[in-house]
């Protein structure tokens, strides 16, 4: 299929990334099409789109993972391209192929490239061929029920179990002892199957105290590939990134050039076009191992956009239209420092338990060099069906110290009423001396950092006072016969009482 100008783009995703993609499409004058599950009928990405089509019930397997329905919607409405966002079908080679078969441009790499490097096992083989070091481990996906205990012993504990498809930490498990292997394998397969529709996993040696450094690469269909510098993603918990930065304090110009060249070599080895990310483990001595390639836009792409002055979604669209890359390597030197905090609906005070609920109030940070990418709005709700990441807050500064202070300032402006979020975690982390010095590794949050010491009784007092005064105000605002809907709770006990009280006055 020949590349062609995109006039109508279907975004096969939801929440902040769907909104993000539509923003760029709109700036390009491209008409936008949303798809949605029943849980998202009034979601921001639906509201933003020019057209919107229902896919199915809330579970992703019945909606956002239904490639057939998505392609049918694209055909029906005349969309000439599909942007998959991240997650869901974004790294699914079969879906990319189905798009091509249906005559719809897939905004992403070719099915062949995805096949060749998107799968972690294939990626290791590509890396070996290209002479890029990888972490010792199983070079193929483990079969269902296969006994891996001997291999694990050979690799040496701790070992890491990873889903062969997908990313984002889902389906990942660190196993430190032989007797925990089987249960973890079972759970990892379950998570991987639920998230990506593919339960196959593989295992490798777990490197202690490494940094997670990734390189953003970009290729076009004319054989050009550039890198857009590294991102530092070592602040993670259960393999979920929480904070991302660009550049990394651990990468100097020399290492950047070396790792960047490696990244470009790997991308070229699979004729890569579009946006992709190569993940590396970086050891304190500067040696690095290639881990895997994400053949899509990353959650954390805004930090790269801020230090390079780019719009990666627009570049994805241009490449998908057959254009050459809009940059040369020399245009992409990093300027300043950017840092992103993922705002997830998780309560850091109850072991990061995921939260669902209504967004009753929302004050968004803004101001100089501050970016808010979100898929929530006041009056909406966080559903339990999808990822708990609800927004990203990204700040830029002339250096890392300024970027961190700006992010603290912006986090302090952010108020989300209705659902506990990671905001207090981020505020606590950004004040941590070790973090501020850049002295951390991928295990830092789980092993060396704690939320203790953040509990402040005077805050609870102030909160109680606010609750009492607000309750009082609402009562006084409804001086009529019945408190009605204006301020009183809805349970029958409350209502009865409210009526009684009101009638007595």
């Amino acid at each position: 299929m020949k590349p062609r100008k995109i006039r109508k783009l279907l975004v096969a995703n939801r929440a902040e990334i769907a909104v993000r993609v539509m923003r760029s499409a709109r700036e390009l004058g491209i008409r936008t099409v949303a798809v949605y599950s029943d849980a998202d009928e009034a979601a921001p990405h639906v509201q933003m789109a020019d057209e919107a089509y229902r896919l199915g019930p809330p579970p992703a397997k019945e909606s956002y993972l239904r490639g057939d329905l998505i392609i049918a919607a694209a055909k029906k409405c005349g969309a000439d391209a599909i942007h998959p966002g991240y997650g869901f079908l974004s790294e699914n080679a079969a879906f990319a192929q189905q798009c091509a078969d249906a005559g719809v441009t897939f905004v992403g790499p070719s099915p062949k490239s995805i096949e060749a490097i998107g799968n972690k096992v294939n990626a290791r083989q590509v890396a070996k061929k290209a002479g890029v070091p990888t972490v010792p481990g199983l070079d193929r996906a483990a079969k269902e029920g296969e006994d891996l205990s001997a291999l694990a012993k050979k690799i040496g504990f701790p070992v890491l179990i990873k889903a062969a498809s997908g990313g984002g930490g889902r389906g990942m498990r660190v196993v430190r002892e032989a007797k925990e292997l089987e249960r973890n394998l079972r759970e990892a397969r379950g998570e991987a199957a639920a998230a990506f529709g593919d339960g196959s996993v593989f295992i490798e040696r777990y490197v202690e105290r490494p940094r997670h450094i990734e390189f953003q690469v970009f290729g076009d269909t004319h054989g050009n590939v550039v890198h857009l510098n590294e991102r530092e993603c070592s602040i993670q918990r259960r393999h979920q990134k929480l904070i991302e930065e660009a550049p990394s304090v651990a990468v100097d110009a020399k290492l950047r050039a070396k790792m960047g060249e490696t990244a470009i070599r790997l991308a070229k080895a699979v004729n890569y076009h579009g946006a992709g990310t190569l993940e590396f483990l970086l050891e304190p001595d500067g040696s690095f191992y290639f881990l895997e390639m994400n053949t899509r836009l990353q959650v954390e792409h805004p930090v790269t956009e801020m230090i390079t002055g780019t719009d990666l979604v627009k570049a994805q669209i241009a490449v998908a239209e057959g254009a050459k890359l809009p940059w040369k390597q020399d245009d992409l030197a990093p300027r300043g420092h950017a840092i992103e905090a993922r705002i997830t609906a998780e309560d850091p005070f109850t072991n990061f338990s995921p939260q669902a609920g209504p967004i009753l109030g929302l004050t968004i940070p803004s101001g100089p060099h501050t970016r808010w990418d979100a898929g929530i709005r006041e009056g909406g709700a966080i559903s339990m069906f999808y990822d708990s990441m609800i927004a990203k807050l990204i700040c830029w500064g002339t250096d890392r110290a300024e970027a961190i202070e700006r992010l603290r300032r912006a986090l302090a402006e952010l108020v989300i009423v209705g659902v506990p979020t990671l905001v207090p975690f981020h505020l606590h982390l950004l004040a941590d001396e070790r973090f501020r010095k850049g002295d951390f590794h991928t295990g830092f949050i789980e092993k060396e950092f704690s939320m203790e010491g953040i509990d402040r009784p005077h805050l609870e007092e102030a909160a109680a006072i606010a609750a009492a005064l607000e309750y009082r105000r609402r009562r006084q605002e409804t001086p009529q016969v019945n408190g009605g809907n204006a301020g009183l709770p809805t349970s029958s006990a409350w209502r009865v009482n409210a009526l009684r009280e009101g009638l007595r006055t």
């Binding site: 009753l360 109030g361 004050t363 108020v415 209705g418 953040i454 609750a467 409350w494």
Partner: protein
């Protein structure tokens, strides 16, 4: 006017009186002088003594959700008279004694039940796995004991707060 508040296990009774420019609030021990920006909208300025806070506050079902420096506090707020009534009503036994209930901390799907009735568990040992927000969450025993009841079934959707298992 008096208000009773409940935050987790903490109970607090606050009296609120108007005073020049604001309110005098007291819990019986400490008295605060408070200014409260009482416009509509979910985020307000609240000045407690001399400390200014930007506070998010909204009704959420039966509770008030209050957000301060990013931290969410949930309060049950009632005027004190009603609180007394409620206390009388709620005198219907409870979770006292050696009984520990495992309840769903979030709505989700039970994907695996690891223990059955009669099993002994250690504190912190996983009892079942609850999938929510695309993550598998192990629900662990809050203390050592014997499983006397298992309500959760693999494959079943559960609501927040729903009883999953009981340890004695």
């Amino acid at each position: 006017m008096k208000f009773a508040l409940k935050h987790g296990e903490d109970r607090l009774e606050l009296s609120v009186e108007e005073e020049a420019g604001g309110y005098r609030v007291s819990d019986g021990k400490t008295t605060w002088h408070v200014r409260f920006d009482d416009r509509r909208g979910a985020v307000r300025g609240v000045v407690v003594d001399d400390t200014r806070h930007s506070i998010g506050v909204a009704r959420k079902g039966e509770t008030w959700d209050v957000v301060l420096e990013g931290i969410n506090y949930e309060f049950l707020t009632r005027d004190a008279r009603f609180e007394k009534l409620l206390a009388l009503q709620q005198d219907r036994g409870g979770d006292a004694g050696g009984r520990a209930e495992l309840r769903a901390p979030i709505p989700g799907l039970v994907t695996n039940v690891l223990k059955g009735v009669g099993d002994e568990v250690k504190e912190g040992e996983p009892v079942l796995v609850l999938a929510a927000m695309k993550l598998e969450n192990e629900i662990r025993a809050p203390r050592a004991g014997k499983i006397v009841e298992v309500k959760a079934k693999a494959g079943a959707a559960v609501e927040k707060g729903e009883l999953l298992a009981v340890i004695e």
